[in-house]
């Protein structure tokens, strides 16, 4: 079974579709909307997160950083990435030694089987409430094979699925996904193209073409015609 990078798995998620849901946030997004509520999910690979309020200033992290990103500074809460953040490779050694949990990895590599096992733990809640799982992001279609494997795994187990997408993905991929998911949460960022460009988007991944809003709306229409349930917002 394929694997991918998961940003987070959130249980008792009550605003991402019907019933009690588990939301699986897949890492990586083609957009970088300035209103994004978890911008740390935008980059595709694992990244180190820092929670200064948890830091006890023990300095162990600085001792293990292979790239000299972290400097040992005196006093609690001061072992922040003092310099050369661009040198951080996200190796995670600092997070591994941080007892206080001030450094944690955002994103981890997981197999689809592992993720499905995690999703399955809340089946009683989905069954009771008409809930299920929502794949969100980032943009879940940034990891299409992984997403397909997850959706297939859920379908085998009769778990209701929703895909929360911005629609910025190849049309054929979206149509393929539509065969495996019960519901699309189709996040139209902005109906006005000019405003869409203005407000939106600095591009996380420079090799991707700028989003064509007209195309996104067309894909939404097309998806709608396949009969899959589609909630736009």
């Amino acid at each position: 079974m394929s694997g991918g990078t998961v940003f987070d798995i959130m249980k008792y998620s009550v605003h991402d579709g019907p019933g009690i849901r588990t939301t699986v946030f897949l890492k990586g997004c083609p957009l970088s909307c300035h209103w994004c509520h978890n911008p740390e999910s935008q980059l595709p690979g694992p990244r180190v997160m820092f929670y200064p309020e948890r830091c006890i200033g023990c300095g162990v992290c600085a001792g293990v950083c292979p790239n000299g990103v972290l400097l040992p500074l005196a006093g609690a809460g001061e072992n922040h990435p003092a310099a050369g953040l661009d040198k951080c490779t996200g190796c995670g050694r600092c997070a591994a030694v941080c007892h206080a949990g001030a450094r944690e990895m955002a994103g981890r590599e997981m197999t689809a089987a592992e993720v499905v096992r995690e999703i399955e733990r809340d089946v009683v809640f989905y069954d009771q409430s008409g809930g299920g799982v929502t794949f969100s992001g980032g943009e879940p279609l940034m990891q299409p094979d992984f997403l397909m494997a997850l959706l297939a795994g859920c379908r085998d187990r009769e778990i209701h699925t929703a895909v929360d997408t911005c629609g910025f993905a190849p049309r054929d991929q979206l149509l393929e996904i539509s065969k495996l998911t019960d519901l699309f949460l189709y996040d139209l960022k902005m109906m006005n193209d000019r405003r869409h460009r203005q407000l939106g988007q600095t591009y996380t991944l420079p090799d991707l073409r700028p989003p064509d809003n007209e195309k996104i709306k067309t894909i939404a229409d097309r998806l709608y015609s396949t009969g899959v349930r589609l909630l736009t917002y």
């Binding site: 249980k11 008792y12 009550v14 009690i20 939301t23 007892h99 733990r121 809640f125 409430s129």
Partner: protein, 785 residues
């Protein structure tokens, strides 16, 4: 609520609790001149003396009448159980929380009359003098508490019989039982005769008490200029003449009958977990329906009467507690906990029109007392659950929610008939019982974490250096987690044995010295057996020891298993050294234990598997052992405020908890250790076999935003139903943000009416001790995402 109710409610809220010496003086007068009677008859005559002599109070505007003291919130004392010293009275008067005003006159009465007569003779004095050294040492160290050291056993709830039978009917039953005594073949026929005579005196006495109210109401009616009030007083007088002598015929009479009975029970003795009407909605429904059908009652009148009834409970603060009892149960709340919904005796959906009326009353009255809960069966409609959750959402912790279907299974497992089990429910905080037919006595909390601390020191209490337990081996010599578990189980058994031995003596002390003939009248089958409630007269007899700190204990064991045995991050030697210094200079180790341990409450099978092993150990140590009343011991898991007291006497622990900090409460995870979601907490908690307990308590805290809108209610309803599908026993909610609670700490005067859920009850946040306030703030707050 109408003006009458608003006024009575406000009066109840505004009145400061005070101590009245009325009962203490009457009981002392009685015993001074008491004749040579058997113990049960003496107790009955003492009750009669109180019922004949105590002041009668009928307040302006009241419809339901009768007070335990001479007026609302005047709390009597029970010197035959606990004789307060002058120092006690000073403490009660001056302590910051849960105080009682004590005036100079009261102190004089105590100094001149009460103390000289009762000192050395109260049950408290007798109990402490009868306990052996091992019991004393464990009690002093905070290994367990003792419920009966200043309050009487009495944990029970009334069934349906007062709605069918009057006291005169009970007297007829007693006379039949007396006539049937066989002095030739029955070796205890004499004891039965004395007990039955005592019950008969009590039945008469409560009729007299009601008649005195009838007389006063009639006299007040004659002097009353307002024709409307005059009519009400005449009606009160008529009601008090009919009940409790006869079975009630109206909604009003049914409520007034219950209230007289309630006053009788809480005046006879200071019983724990005060008595309550149990399934009030089902008991009242026939009277309600008949009243509506014949046009003698409107829904609004029924509501008003219920509201007046509610205020009566709030007028009775739990009588003053001192010493360890004040620590374990620091609240004015006396745990009368009214059940709604559930099942009917035939197993059908028990929700009716009165159920919704009761929920309206809970919502409008917003009083600490009575406490309220819903019994939720899979057969009950969602409308019922959602109506209750809309009250829960307001954030003051009521009603709590019980799994009616599982309670039936728990009771049947304990040997009750299916019909008796369906008439049962939950009371006190979360304790199950067969209402009207069971004596289920809670005897004290057991500090599970302290027992681990003692195990880790091979029987020594590190707080004092004293040997408290047995030698179960130096933990530094243990080669596996199993070694530790075996040692812990031995130590646990040792302390449970001490507690059970003490209990067995105390139960006999109450059976022989302090019977409760009035309570015995009310509980089946005391009359038929001719045996007192305190001596095994009830149809079912259970004795409980309440475990505290299961979440903390699990995390401690999980930390040791993971860091010492699995990963070798620490040696046992290092761990003990760090704990001995309360983590001083070892913050890194503390953070490791706190954050890198599998912890209960996250649906993590590593931690939850340990919880199951510990639950089994506790169950095996207690369940099924014989008590002295013909029944057996059982377990339940609830703390009241004891997790704070137990934490205060327990040193630093392997879960990263510093010395003196509170333990986890009920079966909830350690405060802040549950980091995943409410569904993960529920999945963890449901791995416990609730069916083998007599009650478990799960607290959850939400920020108000999560429960906004209809959608918020829907999803919370599904969460509750899911837990109950998994056989969970009980769940309750705090809906408040930590920010609000911190603001209330900073400026209490602005948050006087802020009510929160503590353990199995709600309380004013500002009435809680600082440690308990901090503990509630520290509980994980589930947010919306």
């Amino acid at each position: 609520m109408n003006q009458r109710v608003a006024k009575l409610r406000q009066q109840s809220l505004d009145t400061v609790p005070r101590i009245t010496t009325e009962r203490a003086e009457l009981i002392t007068d009685f015993y001074r001149s008491a004749g040579a009677h058997s113990v049960p008859v003496l107790r009955a005559m003492a009750f009669q003396h109180l019922m004949e002599k105590k002041a009668i109070y009928i307040g302006p505007g009241e419809l339901i009448v009768g007070e335990r003291g001479p007026e609302p919130k005047a709390s009597p004392t029970y010197p035959e159980l606990c004789c307060h010293s002058l120092q006690d009275l000073d403490i009660l008067d001056s302590r910051e929380k849960i105080s009682f005003a004590v005036d100079h006159e009261a102190k004089r009465v105590y100094r001149e009359q009460i103390i000289p007569f009762w000192q050395g003779r109260s049950m408290r004095d007798i109990i402490f003098s009868q306990m052996d050294d091992r019991w004393q040492a464990a009690y002093q160290a905070g290994v367990f508490t003792e419920f009966m050291e200043q309050r009487a056993p009495g944990h029970t709830v009334l069934g349906d019989k007062i709605y069918r039978l009057g006291m005169l009917d009970f007297i007829a039953d007693i006379d039949a039982a007396l006539a049937g005594l066989n002095y030739l073949d029955d070796p205890i026929a004499y004891d039965k005769r004395e007990e039955l005579r005592a019950m008969r005196i009590c039945a008469r006495a409560i009729i007299t008490f009601a008649e005195r109210h009838a007389d006063l109401a009639r006299a007040m009616a004659q002097a009353e200029p307002d024709p409307e009030r005059k009519g009400e007083l005449e009606r009160i007088s008529a009601v008090c003449l009919r009940v409790p002598a006869h079975a009630p015929s109206t909604f009003w009479e049914a409520l007034q009958y219950y209230w007289f009975v309630h006053l009788g029970v809480i005046t006879e003795l200071n019983t724990w977990d005060a008595f309550n009407p149990g399934r009030l909605d089902q008991h009242l429904y026939p009277f309600y329906r008949r009243g509506i059908e014949v046009g003698s009652l409107t829904r609004e009148q029924a509501r008003e009467l219920l509201q007046c009834f509610w205020i009566k409970f709030n007028n009775q603060p739990a009588p003053p507690k001192v010493g360890v009892t004040a620590e374990e149960s620091g609240t004015y709340t006396d745990f009368a906990n009214i059940n709604s919904g559930g099942l009917r005796p035939d197993g059908a959906d028990g929700v009716n029109e009165v159920t919704y009326l009761v929920l309206d009353v809970i919502d409008e009255m917003r009083l600490l007392q009575p406490s309220s809960n819903i019994q939720l069966s899979k057969k009950n409609p969602d409308r019922f659950l959602k109506r209750a959750l809309r009250i829960v959402r307001q954030g003051w912790g009521q009603p709590s929610i019980f799994n009616a279907d599982i309670i039936v299974q728990e009771l049947v497992r304990q040997g009750k008939t299916v019909a008796d089990a369906r008439c049962g429910g939950a009371s006190g905080c979360v304790e199950v019982g067969a209402f009207g037919k069971e004596s289920y006595i809670l005897t004290g909390y057991l500090n599970l974490v302290k027992i681990l601390e003692i195990t880790l020191h091979n029987g020594i209490d590190p707080c004092t250096g004293e040997r408290l337990g047995i030698e179960t081996g130096d933990p530094r010599s243990f080669s596996s987690f199993e070694d530790l578990l075996v040692a812990f189980k031995k130590q646990l058994q040792y302390f449970v044995d001490i507690k059970v031995q003490g209990n067995n003596i105390i139960e006999r002390l109450y059976a022989t010295r302090m019977p409760a003939p009035f309570l015995s009248l009310l509980i089946d089958d005391c009359i038929a057996r001719g045996i007192d409630y305190n001596a095994g007269g009830a149809r079912y007899d259970s004795t409980y020891i309440q475990g505290v700190g299961l979440g903390s204990l699990t995390d401690c064991m999980s930390a040791i298993r993971h860091h010492v045995f699995d990963q070798s991050n620490l040696t046992m030697e290092q761990l003990l050294a760090v704990l001995g210094q309360d983590f001083s200079g070892s913050e890194k180790v503390r953070q490791l234990l706190l954050n890198k341990t599998h912890r209960y409450g996250n649906d993590d099978d590593y931690a939850d598997g340990i919880m199951q092993q510990l639950f089994d150990a506790y169950y095996d140590a207690v369940n099924g052992r014989p008590n002295t009343r013909g029944g057996v011991y059982r377990i339940n898991l609830l703390p009241t405020t004891c997790h704070v007291y137990f934490g205060a006497v327990t040193g630093a622990t392997p879960d990263g908890r510093k010395a003196g900090q509170p333990l986890s409460e009920g079966i909830s995870p350690v405060q802040g250790a549950d980091r995943r979601s409410p569904t993960a907490v529920i999945s963890s908690a449901a791995k416990m076999d609730h069916l083998r307990t007599g009650g478990t308590l799960l607290n959850q805290k939400f920020t108000p935003q999560v429960l906004e809108g209809e959608d918020g209610i829907d999803k919370l309803a599904h969460l509750v139903r899911s837990y109950f599908k998994l056989d969970g026993h009980h769940i309750q909610f705090n809906v408040v943000s930590a920010a609000t609670l911190r603001a209330a700490q900073a400026e209490p005067e602005k948050y006087r009416d802020l009510i929160v859920r503590v353990a199995g009850y709600s309380d004013y946040f500002c009435d809680l001790g600082r440690a308990l306030q901090d503990e509630i703030i520290g509980r994980t707050e589930h947010r919306t995402f």
